[in-house]
Symmetry: C2
Subunit: 596 residues, 2 copies
């Protein structure tokens, strides 16, 4: 499938909605609008020209494990070399270790492009960035000196080794052991599963971040430590040194992302070093969790964009039947299927979900940047609260949406959507993992209610709602936008009431936390996207009022906003009613009565 | 994955909801309750013991095409032999050609079991049954004598050759030609795609029903004829005779149902014979269309049942985290995940959708039986109208639901759901075709609005709504059921109003047909299922009132009905609001503005 980065859309989001240049000036990273646009154009060429062409074959070929070595699909190793040599790997890395320090508000666009081009390819580098974050923040000076620069450059890669067969969502159950040695190192022993990029032929070295228990560790999650366990132990001269006692025992056979190696990793007394304090492993992991979950949410957007592009292309080319109101293309044997209202419904659902989620992701990226780089501690804290509130929504909603948009892509193709060569079904298979890893979407919803909403009694959510309410107030007086603004304002009022009810219900009965979580997250996301669509419509109307030359582009934003509010936002009503159905009807039936 | 037919559930639907024995007596086919239950028990043993074990391997192995011959997965040929030898193939066939004449209200349960066990395996025999219907009704005496008995027995199989590369939904565009010969036969030339079972190693002969154009045919769908084109031309002694000039040119590479061969079939002047009149091919196809679409809807139910069983088993075994209201299984390292409200939400959504769709399918099966076998012409016509109204809902809703339930199955398994060995992701891939073939679900929705609702101004739909209204009236006075009945009654009133609005909108603007179709079908289905759940709850309460020994079984029906009404039915609100959003916001944006 061919892919073209939606550069105009991305510039709209970056500059016209979120003023990326001013954001960069505030962060003091020296990026201006011209530089940003130049980088994104090069990024688009790299993603479309070098990565996208590898994707279809990577699915057919997959990864092979022979004698402990993993071969990635044809072209991945060469593309990864380019990715490193041209500096793409170091885009977000810290400056003092050779990184380029790009803010997320800019880098997210490049990462989305990579994910559209090949989710499998992106999986390898995405995890390295997370490992860099954890090591940079919590690692000892010695470890950072030995490993960070290589990881930032991408020449060495990183993994996250969390899951064990009996411990997935529930890390309290993990068993991997780390025994302290006289020299301050540890011997790590245990088996980890679902390790993305655990073994591969792309990077010179692989640095595993492993959760394990020290001998005297308390039970449960308070007894988990994080260790750095390299495939090759860094030598004094900076080369990969001695081979460590760890190996890839097997590759998983998966539904999709077959180009990404998913490994069983066996640690047999492998040498490792603590990152952070003993028994503080989970806290260290939390450092990268926001970033990792943001990245997975973005995978939903990337896949969805690719699926939308494929469906749109097909809908404009495929001739089948005549329009309901009469012949549209008299010179052809049938009309292109984009004339049919139901095909347009599918395409516009794709388009408004993709763009809505991209706005949500960009807004969240901006908060992540400010959390680390805002001038005052108060501003950093405020941004951190906002990002924490939004991260589970970005992760869960953007990936649920990614799956839906990919499935709509298959549907637009009809029977051809089911055929591998067309590439649409691969997007469905690839995207399905995003609803599962980095915490299933059910876990995200629990996090949203429990750690975000109940934690502060809904204060941060109220602040977010107030921001969008203020936007509605400014748009109500504008004739073109009044109807949209009042519709969004009404939903915001409904959302506020619903939040109060949900909080009260959860405080009354702990089961309500899990009974309302998924529907409340979905409800919240649909209303949030309505807010972003109003914002997009407002900026579009600004441009039209100012006499823009790009009338069609901005008019499309108004049309899409109208479609979203009329035809997609109503789903919020279903989620609201469902969650008000409460916990009792979920918990009443005894386990034994589920099947007869 | 192991599978066990839900026999108790099926008996509830067959006997307690739809009185299958009385139905059979009315049809005069000599089946009583004991015989029905005996057959279903044997059927369950066959599906679970012989077919289900083949399914996982069939996905990995797929079909192979070598020198024009197709090899099906290991075990399929032997299982098919048993399927024929033990008389399963002939269950629904007409008595005069050696069939057993089972009504659909009974056979659907067996077919659902087969689909749960292996959709790929079922695809081969399902199409033969459709071909038998068309040949039986429209074929000449000569053709029927030569082919029907063999096809009814399953020793010879049937296919439907409709689609061509340029003609899928739009059969007006098809190009395959049939040239009349002096002896009354035709030479058929053309290429067909997506032909399920077009070539295989299961049956001794393959009888293709091919849509083609005669030389003098009018353009469009009024110039399409149906021809019987056998792989081997039946010899006078009843054996497969001379090899015909047709061949399998390629197998498609698909997302799923990899055990079912999906063939490109090339007809190179192959000998064939008209079925029915020249240029009446579409009318002949319509004979089997209701049956074929019903069967595909049932595939959704079958896959969903398998996914539910897998998810339930895992949810009871998998230990992970503690319940929200405290420890549930103190003797274990963690609680089984079925204690978590959100996991229960997923399981109950699966269960109530599966059982709801099964009730809908059984109700429709009964109408299909009466359409052909009721005593009076009026009763046959009435049943035909009812079946015609429901078929697009069965096809589209049960398959959409099948995909959702399969996806929920993956979600319950967490990361393991993505791993092929667990079998859950295969169900998602296998089920995805059901939303596409036999007319995409978008086409079903158009059929529902255009040919069913607008055709009679909503009269048949009103009659159906009145039936459920009457049920509500009878249940309102019963304390346990009053709340449910009033909730369903309210929805029925809303549905009536919405139907009137939809009809008016479609008459005003043809684009509204396609703009409202999918949402209105979904809305209708959710309310219909609410009616069936009320019916199930009423029968369950009858049994409880009568002092049944199976208290847990019937109480579960009441619990499930309550869950469905409170937590699933609310989706109808979202569909209602969305379709009221109208066509204008779908059609406003010019095609060129979909991407920049």
């Amino acid at each position: 499938m061919s892919y073209q980065a939606p550069l105009r859309e991305m510039r709209f989001v970056l500059h016209e909605l979120f003023d990326a240049a001013a954001h960069c000036e505030r962060l003091g990273n020296g990026l201006d609008r011209e530089l940003i646009d130049g980088v994104l154009e090069e990024a688009a060429a790299f993603a479309a020209g070098e990565i996208a062409p590898l994707n279809r074959n990577s699915d057919e070929q997959g990864c092979q494990l022979v004698d402990g070595a993993v071969t990635t699909p044809k072209g991945f190793a060469e593309a990864y070399r380019q990715y490193v040599d041209n500096g793409w790997a170091s885009m977000t890395g810290p400056l003092e270790y050779g990184g380029q320090g790009f803010p997320q508000l800019v880098s997210f666009a490049f990462h989305e492009m990579l994910m559209s081009a090949s989710l499998s390819f992106r999986v390898y580098s995405g995890l390295t960035e997370g490992a860099v974050l954890a090591l940079h923040k919590h690692g000892s000076e010695t470890l950072r000196q030995a490993y960070l620069e290589k990881m930032v450059s991408g020449r060495w890669s990183g993994t996250m080794c969390l899951t064990e067969p009996q411990a997935g969502t529930d890390l309290a159950l993990l068993r991997t052991r780390a025994e302290p040695q006289a020299d301050g190192s540890y011997k790590v022993t245990g088996s980890k599963i679902f390790i993305s990029g655990g073994e591969q032929d792309l990077s010179e070295n692989i640095i595993h971040l492993v959760l394990a228990r020290l001998p005297d560790a308390p039970a449960g999650v308070k007894g988990i430590s994080l260790l750095l366990v390299p495939k090759f132990i860094a030598a004094a001269d900076g080369t990969p040194g001695a081979r460590n006692a760890l190996s890839c025992g097997a590759l998983e056979h998966k539904m999709g992302i077959k180009g990404a190696s998913t490994c069983v990793m066996n640690f047999d007394g492998a040498t490792g070093w603590l990152i952070g304090e003993a028994n503080q492993g989970l806290a260290c992991m939390f450092t990268m969790m926001n970033d990792a979950r943001f990245q997975v949410g973005l995978q939903g957007v990337g896949i969805a964009e690719a699926a939308f592009q494929g469906a749109l292309r097909y809908a404009r080319e495929r001739l089948q039947s005549r329009g309901l109101s009469g012949v549209q293309a008299a010179d052809k044997p049938a009309d292109p299927i984009i004339v049919h209202p139901d095909v347009r419904r599918m395409l516009l659902t794709q388009k408004t979900l993709v763009e809505g989620c991209r706005m949500l992701a960009a807004y969240t990226a901006r908060q992540l940047d400010l959390e680390h780089g805002a001038a005052s501690p108060e501003a950093r804290k405020a941004a951190g609260r906002r990002a924490a509130l939004l991260i589970p929504i970005v992760k869960a909603f953007c990936t649920d949406m990614g799956q839906e948009v990919a499935s709509l892509g298959v549907q637009v193709y009809g029977g051809h959507g089911y055929i591998r060569e067309w590439g649409m079904e691969q997007l469905m298979r690839d995207s399905r993992i995003t609803q599962l890893y980095e915490g299933t979407n059910g876990i995200q919803a629990l996090d949203y209610i429990r750690r975000k909403l109940l934690f502060d009694g809904g204060a941060e959510l109220s602040a977010l709602q107030a921001e969008f309410s203020a936007l509605c107030e400014t748009q109500l007086p504008r004739p073109v936008l009044a109807q949209m603004a009042s519709l969004v304002q009404a939903r915001l009022g409904e959302w506020r009431e619903l939040s109060t009810e949900v909080i009260a219900a959860c405080q009354r009965d702990a089961q309500e936390i899990g009974a309302t979580s998924v529907d409340f997250l979905q409800y919240s996301a649909y209303v949030l996207l309505a807010g972003f669509w109003l914002q997009a419509a407002a900026r579009a109307q600004d441009a039209l009022d100012a006499g823009t030359q790009e009338v069609a582009f901005y008019q499309a934003k108004l049309d899409c906003a109208a479609f979203y509010l009329r035809r997609v936002l109503p789903r919020a009503s279903g989620h609201r009613e469902a969650l008000l159905g409460g916990a009792q009807c979920l918990m009443a039936m005894p386990e034994e009565s589920f099947a007869f």
